[in-house]
């Protein structure tokens, strides 16, 4: 596999009781209820669909080239969106055999890899979209765009998965990616019952996958399952201690994975294992940025620095801040993700002017 999705940060915001889509329209005339008007939503979604259309590319090689050029540009929602669309179009033209053995016999292993790689890129794109939602409220223009992009990504994944599914009994990587799809695609824009269904299906798949091939995709199965088991309440099968063991395994299998650092450090703090959390944060601080997607690096350092503050180590948080700022300075296209206020929530502290997520 050339491409290993790191979509687990998206799962951090998945939930058991997540923001359910309310079926009841409000009638008290607030600004927000005005914006829930179906006709208005339809208008903005239509506009968004037009605005985000990608320029058609007919040639297969040119499509793959355009895909590879921007498929990891997580700081560029529009550019990466088109890249994964081109990649999906190209992958759909490759014939995928119905079994792994047949693939070897017919020299089409590369085709399987390309399909899985492009599926992984689409899954990463869910994470990019999930991180584009504001912490509290977003305007109708942005929420409409994100809705359209989400549905388009879901559709691309569905098309790719139909081709990949016959391989699942033979290819653990495909099984893990399908489980990852269940989780990543339901973080937003999904009714609660579907989210719960997805978590249940993913959990079952991941249990099989980590037994089948523990080192598949460098421990992505353990990373995902660990996060699920940590998030679930105990009476629904949650198990914090097993979750930590799985996350430790995932971290060992892929020591440069920023998502494993985030999930494991959060779990240690949750279990009041502060010494282990701090040791892990210090280890993360020493990560060589050359081996990490730069947007993942700056996002993770913001999060890990925040955990440092929570752990009572402002000096450690400041070190995360320094490294993060250096990367943002070196690559000005990266997103700094400064929250701004909407509906009386978010934005800087009005008394101090300080960004609430500032690390120093």
């Amino acid at each position: 596999m050339k491409h290993r999705p790191g979509l687990t940060a998206a799962l951090l915001s998945a939930s058991v009781l997540a923001m359910a889509t309310a079926a009841v329209a409000a009638d008290s005339g607030s600004v927000l209820s005005d914006m829930s008007d179906p006709a208005l939503l339809e208008k903005y979604r239509k506009e968004a669909t037009e605005r985000i259309k990608c320029k058609p590319i007919d040639d297969w090689d040119a499509r793959m080239e355009a895909y590879r050029a921007a498929a990891t540009s997580k700081w560029d929602r529009a550019g990466m969106g088109c890249a994964v669309e081109y990649g999906t179009q190209a992958a759909m033209e490759l014939s995928v055999p119905s079994s792994a053995i047949w693939a070897f016999v017919t020299f089409r292993v590369d085709n399987i890899e390309t399909n899985l790689e492009v599926l992984g890129a689409n899954l990463e794109y869910f994470d990019v979209l999930a991180k584009s939602y504001s912490e509290h409220y977003q305007g109708i223009e942005l929420s409409s765009e994100l809705h359209v992009r989400w549905e388009q990504t879901r559709q691309r994944c569905d098309e790719l998965l139909v081709r990949v599914e016959p391989l699942i009994p033979d290819v653990t990587e495909a099984r893990i990616l399908r489980a990852a799809y269940y989780l990543a695609s339901t973080v937003k824009e999904t009714p609660l019952d579907k989210q719960n269904e997805a978590v249940a299906k993913a959990t079952a798949e991941l249990e099989i996958a980590i037994k089948e091939k523990p080192d598949a995709l460098n421990g992505l199965g353990q990373l995902l399952l660990g996060q699920v088991l940590f998030a679930l309440p105990e009476f629904l099968g949650g198990d914090a201690l097993r979750a930590i063991a799985l996350l430790e395994e995932a971290h060992k299998l892929n020591p440069a994975d920023m998502n494993a650092y985030r999930a494991l450090a959060e779990a240690y703090l949750g279990e009041r294992e502060n010494d282990k959390a701090v040791a892990l944060l210090k280890e993360a601080l020493a990560t060589d940025p050359a081996g990490v997607n730069p947007q993942d690096y700056v996002d993770a350092f913001k999060f890990l620095g925040g955990l440092g503050i929570r752990a009572g180590l402002p000096e450690l948080a400041a070190q995360f801040a320094d490294k993060r700022e250096a990367m943002l300075k070196e690559k000005p296209d990266l997103l700094a993700r400064k929250e701004t206020a909407a509906f009386g929530h978010g934005g800087e502290d009005p008394l101090t002017g300080k960004d609430p997520s500032a690390l120093k």
């Binding site: 008290s28 005339g29 927000l32 914006m35 912490e135 977003q138 929530h345 002017g353 609430p356």
Partner: protein, 459 residues
């Protein structure tokens, strides 16, 4: 006898000055309340006659008492007609707002923003997004109000300290009463019924205040909070489960005692961490509730017909009829053991002990009151932007109005033109609702907002 004369002179001067300091002004029925506030001095009382007032009001002077005069059931009505955003906004310390009927606003009914030592008393608020909403306040009381029809919280204490919420009635809101990212607050003798969730104690991510603790919910009636959740689907409140008496979402040191909690269909009390709600996105916030003490309460018929998300959550367990449902990895929590109190998720919980009782607590307010800092123009700009402008404008995307980025581009070289537009907007952009005039905020505040938007926000 010079000494006596001088003494007498000082007394008279003091009396004169105190009467100058505390004048009583009157607003005739239906005339401009703001015009009288603008004339008032710090410490004055403004009496508002019954009648209808289609206005937004802003109070930024200290010590103003704004009092509706009642004539039987007839009291002054502030009516936003579903066009205006805010009924009353106050940032002056020691403000008293009492005796109004507030209805038809698109954002806040009554809001204090950065005001310390406030009192919000005996108002009737209908159908705003937030009904009564003190934010960034220290030492205040919300007492004797009735609030209904709010798409979020009826009474919503946000990022505040040392607050009492006493003897109010809230019904027909998505959340009856909420303490959000608030420290040291007492909620008592309130009547909370027919909301989607009765009482919510929350610690939300992404806000400047990163903790919440010292919350006492005692002696309230929390009954039949089973209203369908009518929050707009894009709002945070849309995720509030229906049929909950009391929701505890991540604050620490919470005492729930001596309440009557009955007929809430999903559960009497839900104690949850932020992870369960998909809200553990702020690394600076500890997502778990520690030291939640659920002491003796009068529980009856809770959890009998779990709805929505709680039904989903409980389905695999086959449980119903729960007084206390816990999905929280917090520590040092306790539940008073009693017959008929069914709970789930309390494996790590202990039995409460009698000394944990807060039965004798009278107030969460500070003896002698909180300090009353004079806000700088920068602070005033940020506070008012948050309270007023952010209700319709987001930074980088269309909200109800155009994005702040596009406004900045338009007025980057001309603050005066922006101020003039904000005071008296003209309908310019197709597809956007008409902006209500913001002249009630006054030149000084508008200048502070303009400066903040053009020179600080997003830079």
């Amino acid at each position: 006898m010079n000494f006596n004369l001088a003494f007498g002179g000082a007394v008279i001067a003091a009396l004169l000055s105190s009467s100058t300091m505390a004048a009583e002004l009157r607003v005739a029925s239906g005339t401009s309340i703001q015009a009288v506030i603008d004339q008032a001095q710090a410490g004055d009382t403004i009496l508002v006659e019954p009648g209808e007032y289609k206005q937004s009001i802003y109070i930024d002077k200290p010590g103003i008492t704004l009092m509706g005069l009642r004539d039987g059931d007839n009291r002054p009505m502030l009516n936003g007609e579903k066009k205006l955003n805010d009924g009353i906004i106050a940032s002056g310390h020691s403000v008293v707002i009492s005796g109004f009927h507030v209805k038809g606003y698109k954002g806040n009914g009554i809001m204090t923003q950065g005001a310390n030592n406030f009192k919000i008393l005996d108002n009737f608020v209908e159908g705003a997004f937030y009904g009564i909403f003190p934010q960034f306040g220290k030492n205040g009381v919300v007492q004797g109000n009735t609030v209904t029809g709010c798409e979020d919280a009826g009474i919503y204490v946000g990022m505040s300290d040392n607050i009492d919420v006493l003897g109010n009635t809230t019904f027909g809101n998505v959340i009856g009463i909420e303490f959000e990212n608030t420290r040291n607050a007492l909620m008592t003798q309130n009547d909370v019924y027919d909301n989607s969730a009765g009482i919510a104690l929350t610690l939300l991510p992404g806000l400047p205040v990163k903790d919440s603790y010292g919350l006492v919910v005692r002696g309230n009636k929390v009954i039949a909070n089973n209203h369908e959740n009518f929050a707009p689907s894009s709002s945070i409140a849309a995720g509030v489960p229906t049929g909950i008496g009391i929701l505890v979402l991540a604050p620490d040191e919470v005492t729930i005692e001596d309440n009557e909690i009955s007929d809430n269909f999903s559960t009497g009390a839900l104690v949850s961490d932020l992870i369960t709600f998909g809200l553990a996105t702020d690394p600076k916030i500890d997502p778990y509730s520690d030291k939640v003490r659920v002491l003796a309460n009068n529980w009856s018929r809770n959890g009998e017909k779990p709805a929505g998300v709680i039904a989903e959550m409980l389905a695999p367990t086959g449980k119903t009829g729960l007084e206390v449902l816990v999905a929280n990895k917090g520590r040092d929590n306790c539940l008073a053991q009693a017959d008929g109190v069914d709970s789930l998720g309390t494996k790590r919980w202990e039995a409460c002990t009698p000394e944990m009782s807060k039965a004798t607590m009278v107030t969460a307010m500070i003896a002698g009151g909180a300090e009353e800092p004079v806000y700088t123009a920068e602070q005033k700009g940020r506070l008012t932007y948050l309270a007023v402008c952010s209700g319709c404008h987001a930074y980088d995307s269309v909200l109800h109005g155009p994005s702040i980025q596009s406004i900045k581009a338009l007025y980057s070289e001309d603050a005066t033109a922006m101020m003039a537009f904000v005071k008296k907007p003209v309908h310019k952009r197709e597809g956007f609702p008409e902006m209500p005039p913001q002249d009630y905020l006054g030149d000084e505040t508008l200048k502070a907002i303009t400066n903040y938007v053009l020179n600080e926000l997003g830079n």
